[in-house]
């Protein structure tokens, strides 16, 4: 991976004025909640692990849910931000033309690195998404308003270039997204201990998507 995205926790620590205790609390909370789930993690456990008095947690985050959200919100924010930032640069400034396959490769590598750097946080997101309307809402809004339009624009861009079979964008997403997400989940959450050849697996995934969505003559069938 060419660049290492810092973990969201680091971003939190650097960009927000957090005391050492706050950092400890957040770290402890992430560890414990990702291991046991939000409902099964007690504030007292978090305080103990953080080496902090229980009261301190409530002084900073008000409620247990406040603590959860203060962890989850930045994940959503970071989920949106960096994906397309660099693509935009490339696209807008035409620094270099990037083909569909290269783009996919690049994109998956980027999400791969993001996931790798934030496994516990993403575990939390995935687990709690279903049970907390606030999180569900925030995530869906973020997706609809920030992520999907970008994906859509990008896919349209490649459609225009004639690299994609003319399926409707939403259906394309429904194909590509599970493939990417499925790969990342398998890699990091279902079989994290397997001996992976990451580059090869990424390439394989890209290839599979290419077969599925590109026009016949353009997909390099035997490469």
């Amino acid at each position: 991976m060419e660049h290492q995205p810092t973990s969201i926790v680091d971003i939190l620590v650097h960009e927000q004025k957090m005391t050492a205790k706050q950092v400890k609390i957040i770290e402890a909370a992430i560890e414990l909640i990702s291991e046991n789930g939000y409902a099964a993690t007690s504030t007292s456990d978090i305080a103990k692990r953080a080496g902090v008095a229980e009261g301190t947690i409530f002084r900073h985050y008000g409620t247990k849910k406040g603590l959860l959200l203060s962890i989850v919100d930045p994940v959503i924010a970071q989920f949106i931000v960096p994906v397309f930032a660099e693509r935009f640069v490339a696209e807008v400034f035409h620094t270099s033309y990037i083909g569909l396959q290269d783009f996919l490769h690049h994109f998956i590598q980027n999400r791969f690195a993001f996931m790798q750097a934030n496994i516990p946080l993403i575990k939390i997101m995935v687990q709690e998404f279903a049970f907390h309307p606030e999180i569900k809402q925030a995530f869906q809004t973020a997706f609809k308003e920030k992520v999907y339009p970008e994906i859509s624009r990008t896919l349209d861009y490649f459609k225009e270039k004639g690299e994609i079979r003319g399926v409707d964008t939403e259906a394309l997403c429904r194909m590509i997204a599970p493939t990417v997400i499925g790969f990342l989940f398998t890699r990091f959450m279902i079989q994290p201990d397997k001996d992976w050849d990451d580059e090869a697996a990424i390439a394989e995934t890209v290839q599979y998507i290419m077969y599925g969505i590109t026009k016949a003559e353009q997909s390099k069938r035997d490469s």
Copy 2:
């Protein structure tokens, strides 16, 4: 869907000697746990919803976890059993030749129906899988020993027939499984309220997989 698989709850009720109260308890537990998660669901809530004294739950299931497992175990059992049962018939008795595409279609329809009939149960499985070693263990064992060999045999069967590009079986699974699972999750859990054309979506998914795994000349590109 040609045949409606009965829900696992029905199987439980019919095949095991359960009292009326036990059925009520199981139903209430499935509802509440799938809505709020295991840890956030109290046995008192379950008892209330089931119209039963709290003690009755413990008389039958011993512990809260016992109740969870008595719900989850049959899901794992049913996850294994019916998938390939009918395929075997077809294969063994050569009643009719089934091509890869037809098989995939059939297979996805089958899992689609299974999921449709058991959404809350599967939600529970998915959510609690990560936190309960017993469930994780049971599921992984079931998959490795019962499901994967069948899938493997089936894929080999089609490889021999020359319908699949010669990728190694495990890699094929890593492609197909997320696509199928991703589709089903999107359909039933992420966007259940969308106005779906199920037959079309299934066909689309099949097609996508076909592009990804079949030899060029055999995939009917424009059908």
Copy 3:
């Protein structure tokens, strides 16, 4: 010991019309209550150990306390009855003259055998005596009305014979009783696993009492 007093449980079984299940219940209850105490023993444990349905216990004994009393009452009865029965015979019919030392020896042997045959029952008595007014009452009444008068008569008998220093009877009891009870408790409840020479220990106890209560010139100081 010349004669083996049967255990109270045997008396119960033979003298009362008890069904096989009732016997099982009583036996299980004695075992469990003497091991864990009345309050810490559940009727369900007793039923399980007895191989009986819980309802059966309540059919026969009404309440848990009823069961306890049906165990304890015969102990009190048997505590009273056999002690002096044989002494009376001896005394009244003058079959043979028994000296104080022989009497004490005889008496302690008798209580020794009684205790040996009924350790768990006596454990229960001792433990629950303090917490159940019914038991306390029954025991104290039995003692005052049945046991103490007999002891008193006996001591007076030996006082008349000049074998005992003229202390008042109650004070004598306060000396003798703890010595006897203390010996039996040490033997059967505090150090039951020690390698005892029972005959020697009984003789020693008798001697100690003799020193304490007999007139100087009559106690065989150097034996």
Copy 4:
């Protein structure tokens, strides 16, 4: 009694940094457990009597058993400590020669005062000894390693002085201990409401022991 040993509760309060609530909890627990037994006393009752929230008990003592042990442990400690402390002074510094009878008198008075000041605590010890291996263990160890050696030394001391008949020490203990313990139990637990002449009763007990263990020529004190 020349000096009043403070009750163990006072020692607890003074020597350990206990909050007012903790003291209340301990006091309530001692009262209720000594009255009803450990198993029959609920933490909710204790909390109510102590005027404290039930949770407060668990904040300080972790479990119900933790509370019991925090009560019982100091009893065992105090059971050991003060018995021979003062005797040592006398013995070592030869401040004054103390004869066997005086020593016994002194010793029984000391234990009398200890018991008087701690009746409920000792009731608890006696009742729960049988059911809690931790207590049994702690007590037996304390006895074997701390109390018995002291008693043994003391008896040997008097044997050397020729005041005791040469019986083996253990047998002597088996005689003396039940007599003393029996007296104290009768006085404080079996007939506490009787109108006792304590000094006379102690003297009587001493005398009884003297008759039992001393050499003939030394024992006929005054009777």
